[in-house]
Symmetry: C2
Subunit: 486 residues, 2 copies
């Protein structure tokens, strides 16, 4: 069976393009034998490791410690928090048989761990001295999904979930906001993916939260991607799991909790922020390989000199901290190798052949579009280092520009309906509509009739303060983001 | 309910001691609401992170790449390899309900991933050019266990599983042996836990392997702990999952595979290699905190000067790469803090008070036993660095000595039965009996009547070559290790 090796152009079918980029970039493939699951292939997993390394460092710097809680959760635990069970029940995978026997109480495979962690927090916390308790877990979770897309929505996914307990609501809110900012800075500074920081509406918040905060990114097709969330859980889980502490006035009080997470979904966001019709484009800070060196030679006697120069230049670049691969595969033409590294999103390609050797130069080619140019060998490592910074900045600037150009202030409901109607994940054309909303669930329901949702109420109002609700004309404190989303 | 805070002496009940050390060291606790599972607490998880960092680096240096495969495996997959299903069937957790519906085919929660990975290898491999394929996965696995012990045997555990495919049996065997040696060097060089490298007998090998290799360590109570295994899978899974490649002669051939893994069980081995009746003892290379600095002061006016000196000394030690914690918790006496860090296995404690300040010195105390001694402040960082190396070496030497002293050559079956009879995990007194064995399953069965098993046939014969089988008197090529084990 011949496999497809080309990439559908974005303009033709954005959804197919996305799948093609992931396949040709060897990031992942659907695990068709396990419904809705995927295999994360080495190149995709290497990106996840970069995400993990960066976030883990930031979590530790902000005082969090990693721990690990059971994969299985007694089914009864989920029922203790009314909204939580309502939100997650339809998505559960349930273990009913263990060691050959029917279980007395079934276990659910964790869809998230607030409940099981709440149970242990109750054992660990007794005094204000035990607070704040700042825990993070790197884990797999399972949510039974009907419609899946690699990375963006899969039945099993990898993520981190922070779970913290505090002595006051103010402290918990500050924690939830702090971690959202950690996510936002990582998304923008490392993934070159601009995000809007904001608050979820009541109908969109996490099942069991008092308030959910989120970062929302815009993909190339204009659809929104919720890239990270952080929840102020109030005392909801504290009450459900009886997590009490003696405060400094010696009174018993329920703890105030937060939870926050990002997942392998970020990789989907990364793909859809920068890639093009030739395949994956990665910002240098997220690229497992930043420089691919392709040696060029026709005759065997040329090979040794070219290889030696390639190895020497690679060593110099590595000494600057760059991740370099010299492609010495035999039996492949340079053009094949260019294509190979292009599809894998390597930010810069270096070509070196006998004529370059003679001229003491190499050719470099940026993955994100600029023409090839010659660089003197002695300047290569320094040049590459600078080019990485430039690419990183350019990708962020381009993504920002796209988001700004596709963000509109919309003031009429008819106009809003007309704007949203043709938008699909396949055809693209998505927009962020900044609309006034009175805050009522009824008006939000009207918005949802278009299949768009309120993505968030931005922390920062860049759209002129109060106005009148798009639907009912009632007073609105500020514009909110409405968009179709993944 | 008052919790126990003391540690049962080893001589009284080794099994209780083990649990007490883990509890007081805050490594883990049983997750009593999820049968046979545990919570790995931050201090325990930090040790796991050190294990991961070291092994992951070694795996990458030997050419392996990380990937991630689904948690769920179609039940039918396990049945394709006859020995494999027989070995794992009794231990499976089975998901029968997903998204509120009974599943048409149940999924098992992976007990190990040979089958699902075999399925994908078949898709990825077609030519000798695709080989070797060297993959590793960090993951959780589930094996339904009736009798569990924290870290040593839990229903869910964390591990890594390497899975590789090769063009020849020789290459696969070399890979399996190479990775066993990676494990052995890590166990000895970093965990200070000496191991015997060897081959499993037919009855003890992995379900589905041609040959299993292992490293076996001896715990303080003389019981054996299988600390890591590496399997030559031959073409068994290649045939079960139709993983074929075109060899250089253009003929189709099944691939030769290996798998190898270590788990959170290693943490149990670490605990039982070095700890004492005062709690956890960690070799410096595995200690998340290597130096605990305890400032001592009576009057508030002394505090600032002591804190400043402590911070400065800590900074100097950190500059040498040491992991230092300055314990500034208010309201706790120095004795409480000593006890705290002792129970957590911190290799060296530094005490600094006003009199030390005056004398420009500090007191240092090794966790592994030697007396306190004074060190001039200016020499502290260098001294600590050297002390870490000394402790690391001393712990390994002590563990080696213990293993040698508890290893006996046994030549009579009666003597062997008498030797093994009184040994239990609680009472200890375990020995490695080096016995001659003819290789027959019948004689092995007689050995197993004592509840001891053949741990391995050592690669290196340190016990004098051939002899006569302990049971039947038949010819034996070399002595093998028989012991009671975890």
């Amino acid at each position: 069976m011949a496999e497809k090796t080309t990439i559908t152009p974005r303009a033709e079918d954005y959804a197919s393009w996305y799948q093609d980029v992931i396949r040709q970039g060897e990031l992942a493939e659907p695990a068709e034998v396990v419904k809705g699951c995927m295999v994360i292939k080495p190149h995709g997993y290497a990106i996840w490791e970069k995400i993990q390394a960066q976030l883990d460092r930031r979590f530790k710097e902000t005082g969090h410690k990693n721990a690990y809680f059971p994969l299985f959760i007694p089914e009864s635990f989920l029922k203790r928090e009314a909204q939580h069970v309502e939100g997650f029940s339809p998505e559960l995978a349930v273990v009913t048989i263990g060691g050959g026997k029917q279980l007395e109480e079934a276990y659910v495979v964790r869809p998230t761990s607030e409940t099981i962690i709440g149970h242990f927090f109750a054992k660990w916390i007794s005094s204000w001295r035990d607070l704040p308790l700042l825990i993070n877990q790197w884990a797999n979770v399972v949510r039974w999904e009907l419609r899946t897309r690699m990375f963006l929505r899969t039945t099993e996914f990898l993520w981190q979930e922070g779970h913290t307990a505090h002595a006051s609501h103010e402290e918990a809110i500050a924690e939830a906001r702090r971690m959202l900012e950690v996510y936002a800075e990582f998304a923008e500074g490392w993934m070159a993916m601009p995000v809007i920081r904001g608050t979820k509406t009541e109908s969109e918040k996490f099942a069991g939260a008092v308030t959910s905060y989120c970062i929302e990114a815009m993909m190339q097709n204009g659809l929104a991607l919720q890239a990270g969330t952080s929840h102020d859980l109030g005392q909801n889980f504290g009450k459900a799991f009886d997590v009490k502490f003696q405060n400094t006035e010696k009174q018993l009080e329920y703890v105030w909790q937060t939870s926050w997470g990002v997942s392998t979904r970020l990789i989907g966001g990364l793909v859809m922020s920068h890639s093009d019709d030739n395949g994956l484009v990665l910002p240098p800070r997220m690229a497992p390989i930043q420089v691919a060196v392709v040696p060029i030679y026709r005759k065997d006697e040329e090979r040794q000199a070219v290889y030696e120069a390639a190895d020497r230049l690679a060593a110099e670049a590595r000494a600057k901290g760059l991740l370099v691969e010299v492609d010495k595969r035999e039996g492949y033409k340079p053009g094949f190798k260019y294509f190979h590294w292009e599809q894998r999103g390597v930010p810069v390609r270096v070509e070196i052949g006998p004529r370059d050797l003679a001229a003491s130069q190499v050719m470099i080619k940026r993955r994100d579009g600029a023409d090839k140019r010659a660089v003197p060998m002695g300047e290569l490592a320094g040049t590459l280092f600078g080019v990485m910074e430039t690419i990183q900045g350019d990708l962020l600037a381009r993504a920002r520009e796209r988001m700004e150009q596709s963000t509109l202030e919309v003031d009429s409901h008819d106009e809003f309906v007309g704007l949203m109607a043709p938008i699909t994940a396949e055809k693209g054309g998505g927009k962020f509509a900044m609309v006034h909303w009175c805050g009522s669930p009824d008006c939000e329901a009207r918005i949802k009739e278009t299949k768009a949702t309120f993505r968030c109420i931005p922390f920062e109002d860049r759209h002129g303060g109060p106005g009148k609700c798009l639907v009912c004309g009632g007073p609105s404190p500020r514009r909110v983001v409405a968009a179709k989303a993944y």
